[in-house]
Amino acid sequence: MTDAPASPTDSTRTDPGTAGSPRDAVVLGGNRLPFARSGGAYAGVSEQDMLTAALDGLVARFGLQGAQLGEVAGGAVLKLAGDLNLTRECVLGTPLDARTPAVDMSKACATGLETVMHVSNRIRLGQIDVGVACGVDSASDAPIEVSVRLRRLLHRLSRARTPMQRAKTLAALRPGDLAPLPPRNAEPRTGMSMGEHQAITTSQWGITREAQDELALASHRNLAAAYQAGLLDDLVTGYRGLGRDENLRPDSSMEKLAKLKPVFGTSNPAVAEPTMTAGNSTPLSDGASSVLVSSREWAAEHGHTPLARIVDTRAAAVDYVHGDEGLLMAPAYAVPALLDAHGLGLDDLDLIEIHEAFASTVLTTLAAWESEEFGRERLGRDGAYGTVDRSRLNIAGSSLAAGHPFAATGGRIIATLAKLLHARAREKGAVQRGLVSVCAAGGQGTVVLLESDGE
């Protein structure tokens, strides 16, 4: 068990999942598309099509044709400007009652988790009885913008009243203005990509190449085994001829992974020995996911078995710009805060899902919790926060094998974990707890606690 609470407010709170909340929000199940590699099976497919397909599959699985839901919360990270009402447009394209409201949300890689929390909070407060949390991203169809100068000129052109004004505006156009701006995978405040940031963190924590490759290999093997065991039969709906995640390599091996060249931190003086390769870093992906969340009463009325209760959430952010914390380290802070609030420690968790943006993200997070120094100086504790039992970590594989279409990842993990917890709780006849931790661009992190009684 842990010692010092992460913040004064947390220690005074009652458990909002029990005493403070009027009712539970429970996960009934989910549906996602197989995740595709960027430029792969879903190249040329719009995010609207993908998210609609993910919702269609959920509607089919749960017989929601014609149902009016309380709300559908969704979002995309790489979203086209024209898709401002993306989720609502998708709802209109499904067999759901067209009077189902929708909201678009965005918090980089944590978007999916945030939509789950949004819907579950509404249910807990009694504002709605049932809702869907969802997310989609297509790195293949990322928005491309025009230059600032061209945009301003085009706006001026549309305001021009006379042919003379128009001619003048057009005359100001230079060939260079016409070049489109490709999307940049870089933090606006540092100009460095996520991988470059993580390469520094990896180096600082001394995470070895071998440890990263081992984690990547385990991810592929675990996900392949999960498919083999039928775990994903009612979590994934095939799309565009793809029946399972395109990135999954069941036949991967340490030898194959060892042959890959490092891709991040190769020219950074802060990184002594680059270790992050295409094999232990998650590639850009396309995909969509959805989760059905309801009150216990709604589930009972409609004959659905609750898989897990959504207990609580915490978010944290780190100062990676002025401070000296790694860009993807926020969950290392958010998890202790969340568990403290419920009087729990890492050992009380039966399953732990740490999103594998990079293998080293998971490993640096685990290393930080095991570090006396980090525990004392950063978390304000007497010593190290704790050790994660690796046999409970990402047991059905995670993003390294499945891929990571940003906003779709939260829904993938929540639905998978809820199903795993429910099966284990049934098997063991005891309540099972699970944690989801997702890091996000901008130095952010969101973590969620789930619990299943298996009934």
């Binding site: 397909a53 599959g57 089919a60 699985r61 039928g230 039969d233 709906t237 095939g238 799309y239 029946g243």
Partner: protein
């Protein structure tokens, strides 16, 4: 969904040309939506046996305009020839010859249905005439015009002509639901089955599992069974998941993504049904693939894949469901499996496919024996059906395949689905181990 040539024959330019040159002139085939009444009247019932009187009374019950002779009517919609009392070849002419003079009075989309008994090996003369009916029916099938069809029902000795199997087969063959079934003899072996309260929804209250349901004939089967009142579980491979959920959403059915060739397929289907408390009354084994290649160029992967999906998976799933201790199958099961005319006559370049489909026909026969009181098993053998699969056949070959039947056109997935709907109905309880061709009387094969 008519093909380009058929559209041409109906165009102002094509119509006279086709008439003058004697080119194939494919007739329009009315389907159930075009002609919802059970019998195209007036219907003439031929035959002097007590069975003929029973059939006439039955047709009157359905509200049909029933006659016992051709003399009073200038047009004829349907003819039921009751031949259950034949003793020797010379007997046949008395009953059927009046029809000869009426062939030209048959309306477009007309129906001729014979009802006779099968040879038993007990009496030379009686077997000869009973067998002779088959040649008569098949010839009429070839000679019918304007979309008319001729089919027969062979009722086992001891089974009355009012048995549910006979009644529901007669109703199906007379209706527009059998538009592309021609020159077929359907056997009724037993008295089992129960007639529906509502002939439009004979599957109301029954649950069907359809494999390969995401598209083509499988999707058509699903739509037809849903229209007949069935609750549905729709199965297809994960890669077709979105198409599957599309059909499921349309029909308010339950989707089940599964590769039927996987080793655990049977267990997973059973677990799925048990979890949802579903008990199956109908099992449609439709999932199938082609990997065409001349046998001289045949490879193991092409051969094995076709055998695995088209026949081995059907055996495995049926075995699993029937031997399960879980109550996942009802007490009066209907299994309908997809065969093919390729499995009857063989087809160049389809050694693997034809083998698997011939296997299906033998499989349903064996399964029907094993089911006994627990239900029935039958197969449907489509001929040339207009689907994405046949659209890939090279144009000339496709055009020949399309015209090589009595109706001079390809059938629709709907036609296959309607026949499955009939075999899946509670009424078809006496129809066992049969393979009904839906081929417009394809020129090859039995």
């Amino acid at each position: 969904m008519t093909d380009a040539y058929t559209r041409f024959t109906r165009s102002p330019l094509g119509r006279p040309l086709v008439k003058r040159t004697g080119l194939p002139n494919p007739p329009r085939l009315p389907r159930h939506a075009d002609r919802p009444q059970p019998v195209l009247g007036p219907v003439v019932v031929l035959g002097a046996s007590p069975g003929a009187d029973e059939v006439a009374a039955l047709l009157l019950d359905w509200g049909a305009d029933v006659r016992r002779r051709f003399e009073e009517t200038s047009t004829v919609g349907s003819v039921v020839v009751v031949l259950d009392d034949l003793a020797k070849p010379a007997d046949l002419g008395t009953t059927v010859l009046p029809l000869a003079g009426a062939m030209r009075s048959l309306l477009p989309g007309s129906r001729v249905v014979t009802i006779s008994r099968p040879p038993t090996g007990e009496d030379l003369a009686r077997d000869a005439v009973r067998g002779g009916v088959e040649g008569f029916v098949r010839t009429l099938g070839h000679e019918m015009r304007k979309g008319g069809t001729a089919n027969g029902i062979q009722v086992a000795d001891g089974v009355p002509l009012t048995a549910p199997g006979v009644v529901s087969t007669l109703r199906f063959l007379l209706s527009a639901r059998s538009a592309f079934v021609d020159g077929q003899i359907v056997g009724v072996a037993r008295q089992d089955g129960a007639l529906p309260e509502d002939w439009e929804r004979p599957l109301a209250g029954r649950t069907a599992l359809v494999t390969g349901a995401a598209r083509g004939i499988g999707a058509a089967i699903s739509r037809t069974l849903a229209g007949l009142g069935a609750e549905l579980v729709l199965l297809d491979v994960p890669a077709s998941g979105s198409e599957l959920s599309g059909v499921a959403n349309e029909l308010r059915a339950t989707p089940l993504q599964l590769d039927v060739t996987s080793a655990q397929a049977g267990d997973r289907v059973i677990a799925f049904l048990r979890e949802r408390g579903i008990v199956l009354d109908v099992l449609v084994l439709n999932a199938g693939i082609t990997r065409d290649k001349m046998f001289a160029n045949m490879t193991a992967d092409r051969w094995d894949a076709v055998i695995a999906v088209n026949i081995s998976s059907q055996i495995a799933l049926a075995e699993a469901l029937l031997s399960s201790d879980e109550p996942v199958v009802g007490s009066d099961l209907r299994v309908v499996s997809l065969a093919s005319t390729s499995g009857i006559a063989g087809n160049r370049g389809q050694a693997n496919y034809a083998t698997s489909k011939a296997g299906v026909m033998a499989f349903v026969d064996a399964l029907a024996r094993r089911l006994g009181e627990r239900g029935t098993a039958n197969a449907v053998a489509p001929g040339f059906i207009e689907t994405d699969m046949t659209a890939k056949i090279p144009p000339l070959q496709r055009e020949i395949a399309r015209r090589a039947n009595s109706l001079q056109q390809g059938g629709l997935p709907l036609d296959v689905a309607e026949t499955i709907g009939f075999l899946a109905s509670p009424g078809a309880g006496g129809v066992r181990g049969q393979t009904v061709r839906v081929c417009g009387q394809n020129l090859v094969g039995r």
